[in-house]
Amino acid sequence: MDLLNHLAVGFGVATQGINLLYALIGAMLGTLIGVLPGIGPVATIAMLLPTTYALQPVSALIMLAGIYYGAQYGGSTTSILLNMPGETSSAVTCLDGYQMARKGQAGAALAIAALGSFFAGTISTVMVATVAIPLSELALKFGPAEYFSLMILGLIGAVVLAHGSLLKAIAMIVLGLLLGIVGTDVNSGVARFSFGIPELTDGIGVVSVAMGLFGFAEIISNLEVTEKRELVTSKVRGLWPTKAQFGLAWPAALRGTALGSVLGLLPGGGAMLASFASYALEKKVSKDPSQFGKGAIQGVAGPESANNAGAQTSFIPLLTLGIPENAVMALMVGAMTIHNIQPGPQVMTSNPTLFWGLIASMWVGNLMLVVLNLPLIGMWIKLLQVPYRLLYPAILLFCGIGVYSINNTSFDVSQTAVFGLLGVAFMKLECEPAPLLLGFVLGPMMEENLRRAMLLSRGDPTVFVTRPLSATMLAMAALLLLLIIAPAFRKTRDQAFAEEE
């Protein structure tokens, strides 16, 4: 069977000593930043991107991917013990996980979270492998018009499924697209929006944008909050859940995995959406919904499985279509570009060892994570006791050295600081930075495909609606927009009615 052969190749690559080492480093770092509140996977991957220059591309990608799913494991620990999300995708785990910890069941909650995540990781690795081939084949039939429409669909999807104001999110995408095309235009050689600064003719670095908007802005906003955090249990006893707890947890983990795998595929999806949706589902199917918020184990098992499944299947659009669907995947595009790999359907055929090696490494990494998280839990708890005032300067140092070393210029560091300022402003104005990063990465690709499609159609814009695949994707994008506008309209109308009465 083809799939088995591919996976065999993949495991061959993933179990090479050097790749095992980088999977371990990635998983460790991911858990670390997942455990630590106030620094997310986007900032961490941005921080470490420059250091992967020297590595083999496959090792680099394995490590960076490990950070993302590792963060899903680590985030749950903080949620359960601290009632504070280590990651946004674990925010909902706080609700029941922390209550379990208060009842002295912290060990069981942690074990269920880790085992659920591992189960989800296994299933979704298989899913990535099976869906990848047909999707890549479909993508190979795409022309520039289809690609352009696909990107529109991806961007609209990312906005609709994210929270916050639709109008702002779309504006953020457009701003991202604009920032993305700064630099030398490939077709004409004109340096656009470089303001005579030589460093800008190469374009703005994705690391600077991500680190500034996510990393620096996060740190600054954390520093504005002066409250102290408290650990619920410094000692975790009895890691193993009871039989009854296990019986409640496994169907929830199964549902979470299924839901997360599907939501991870959608643009804008990924870990965060998956965990929230799963919690809502568990509450709905439960025989006794009143238990939720008081330490229901399903409320831990479902979302924790779902976020890991979502984190992994969100690699599918990137690996097969070349379209990133969330901020982390946007950075993965950056990582692939650094190593001269153009993300897209051709990766599977031109670079099969990298492709299958990365997929197989996800399962290997998940296995490592169970080991890291269960027996070593004490170590992670210790880490939570490091005060933030010592932590953030260290993070800034790693950021500073990382950005500087990309091109060995201080310009990049100052540029990152400017994006940090912009990031703080966005935060104050409640503008989500993730759509901007997506637009930023897609900007050059989108312009290129628009130009090519219009050139082929001799300037006729109807090409986007006359080609069936392209038209379908645009129709789906329009439908998504309508979906979000319609209920909002209904809701405000309902409010008006309520006011009248």
């Binding site: 504006a171 457009v174 929006f193 005032r389 300067p393 201080s410 300022l421 104005l429 008006a496």
Partner: protein
Amino acid sequence: MRGCYSYARGADRDPAKTVRSASDDDGACRRDRVNAEKTMAFIRHPKDFFAGLLFISFGIAAIVVGSNYTLGTAARMGPGYFPRILGILLIGLGSALSLRALRLNGPPLPGWKWRPVVIVLCSVALFGMIVNYAGVVASTIFLIVASSAASHEFRFRESLVAGVVLAALAVGVFVVGLKLQLPIWPAGL
């Protein structure tokens, strides 16, 4: 205000109701407006309003700066074509956001704490400027001590110790381990 507006539209389907609701509507909206005027002149949703202005200014900048680039035609787009589209879109979206902010009510702008913003960003930018001259050790100690001052729990001695430890770590990881091209000690030593 949004509530008033959409209600009127929703009620269009029922003519008998429209008459009554329109008057109710006006009353409610007027009360709303009076309340809002007490707190803020005419910007009801400051977050959206200023976000809109930010987008508009980026859009204008794109068009003004981009006016030097050849537009080309739809079939053969020049370097100025796509930025122009984006600029127009940004101005449009920004205006919609700002105008809507005159009708929708929203929370006030949160205050800025300048201390963390200025200290964090400036210390990192300065670090980038001096690292090649002062070397990793000195600039790390500078960055750690300077950026620690952004916290309300700042302790000078503690940050100095942290700076020395992290400087050793940075040399070990980045210069020795990852072989980045960075001097360890100040130039000339």
